[in-house]
Amino acid sequence: MKHITRPLPTITADNEEFWKSTKEHAAKLQRCNVCGRFWYYPGPVCHHCGARDYTWTALSGKGTIYSYSVLERAKGNPYENDVPIAIVLVRLEEGPVIMSNLFDYEAADLAIDSPVRMTYEDVDDRVTLPVFLPARA
């Protein structure tokens, strides 16, 4: 995977379990114990039904591309010298849509509804980001 100079997220009590799971290369999201749905991004209450009763649940890592954009010019941003960067919205098998990057792809892989799989980028000692690769048949 190519290098991207990234701005990093702030780890808080609301999301530390998520960032701990990505650090372990086994991403989890909150799944509501009342309505059964997952939500993203992490937060103190079920985004769908308002319940505070949830379980941090492992993700399959499977998803499909909901949309994509290849960033080619990013003057003034920390990653301006790292373009082109493929930015994707991925609909996870579990339901939520997450923003991430796609790596090691061919032109045909970058298409809406194409299957992708989650992998991990260890950015520093603290932060590992969930990123994606094409999931070719």
Partner: protein
């Protein structure tokens, strides 16, 4: 008789590159121009609303009041709705005037995106105009967010990049008639498609300008200004906000998602209050941060069917002399885009048109004008329908 709020005065600072003025200096120029246009003095102003510029005090609205010398106010507040702020502010000011809270509300904004910050887009992303924890780490920029919206739009409707480009081409035709517009040379669809990609599928000419400048308006009770025949009616106004995290926007709710925005909700409120339908609108200034921003609004507001905005524009409907002249000043794409207050220029232009003071670019039918403003990846909107003076 109930008090009716009107737009009593408008003002603009110089637009484009204004290195000699601070943002505060731009705000003062615009504010004094609007107060003068209404035939009022600073002492007549008792309400103030603005959207604070970036990297400044949380008391910025008070600093502006102190600078202008407006000591006693019965309303001084901020609207933090990005580009939509200055539509939202009109509704707040209208309510304040009509309830008796204020007599004359000054709404003002001014920013220095061209000569005052590292770069408009980078600055907006880095201060959290978008999600810092779950989006910015993935190298999203504002053009990238709109690129994601545009790519999904093209997919859902089988549209082409050339459909997006139509917006830039039509807007430039209007800008050519505005002597103050930054970009006035006519362009073609091929020019847009041959301009460099910023974030696919958006090319440079799909993206708005980065400018300095500001604008202001004064909202007063009808009959307050020096010439009530120049007062502009607020026929209808509505707001709607959804989310700003793009994944949550994409998941959607009911009939709405990333591509099918909530601007229809804001529009329904404005149309209902005005008692008008889209077909009865004489001209429209549609917030054009990017070409795709215009495409989804034209469709969601009911000016054309979903998936057909590119064709609607290609047929000449929004051109000078068309049935719905659009962004007659040249919009954010070709006139000027001084950040969040850029949307104010759609209002000041609509006021000039409805007064019949728009010079070479004067529209012929000028009973009403729709003005929209938007922000945060087409997720929050304000829609106003203004009317010519009835005095």
């Amino acid at each position: 008789m109930a008090t009716r709020a009107v737009i009593a005065g408008i003002g603009e600072s110089r637009l484009g590159k204004v290195p000699e003025l601070t943002a505060l200096g731009i705000i003062v120029d615009a504010a004094l121009a609007a107060i003068h246009d209404a035939g009022l003095t600073v002492q007549d102003i008792d309400g103030l609303i603005l959207h604070p510029a970036f990297h400044v005090s949380p008391r910025y609205h008070i600093i502006v009041a102190e600078t202008l010398g407006i000591y006693v106010k019965t309303m001084a507040d901020t609207t933090m709705m990005g580009g939509a702020s200055y539509g939202v502010a009109i509704e707040r000011a209208k309510q304040a005037v009509e309830s008796g809270l204020c007599r004359n509300v000054l709404i003002v904004g001014g920013e220095k995106l061209a000569t005052g910050h590292q770069s408009g887009s980078a600055m907006m992303a880095s201060v959290g105009a978008h999600n810092l924890d779950y989006e910015y780490p993935f190298a999203a920029t504002i053009p990238a967010y709109y690129g994601l919206l545009a790519q999904r739009y093209l997919h859902d409707y089988g549209a082409e990049e050339s459909d997006l480009a139509q917006v830039a081409v039509a807007t430039r035709k209007h800008a050519a008639l505005n002597p103050n517009a930054t970009m006035r040379t006519p362009i073609t669809v091929d020019d847009v498609l041959n301009s460099p990609i910023i974030s696919s599928p958006l090319h440079r000419l799909d993206c708005s300008l980065v400018s300095d400048g500001g604008a202001a308006y004064v909202i007063s009770a009808a009959g307050t200004s020096k010439d009530p025949s120049r007062e502009i009616e607020i026929l209808g106004i509505g707001q709607a906000q959804s989310y700003y995290h793009m994944g949550q926007l994409a998941e959607g709710h009911g009939d709405h998602d990333l591509v099918r925005t909530v601007v229809d909700v804001a529009g329904e409120r404005a149309f209902a209050q005005a008692g008008l339908t889209p077909a009865e609108i004489d001209m429209a200034n549609i917030y054009d941060s990017f070409t795709i921003t215009v495409i989804v609004q034209l469709e969601d507001l009911g000016f054309c069917e979903r998936g057909t905005a590119g064709q609607f524009i290609a047929e000449g409907n929004v051109d000078p002399g068309g049935k719905l002249p659009m962004n007659t000043h040249g919009g954010l794409l070709s006139n000027a885009h001084p950040g969040a207050c850029g949307g104010m220029l759609g209002f000041t232009e609509a006021v000039r048109q409805l007064r019949g003071e728009a010079g070479d670019r004067q529209v012929t039918k000028r009973d009403n004008a729709l003005v929209s403003s938007a922000s945060a990846v087409a997720s929050n909107f304000s829609v106003s329908i203004l009317g010519a003076s009835i005095q």
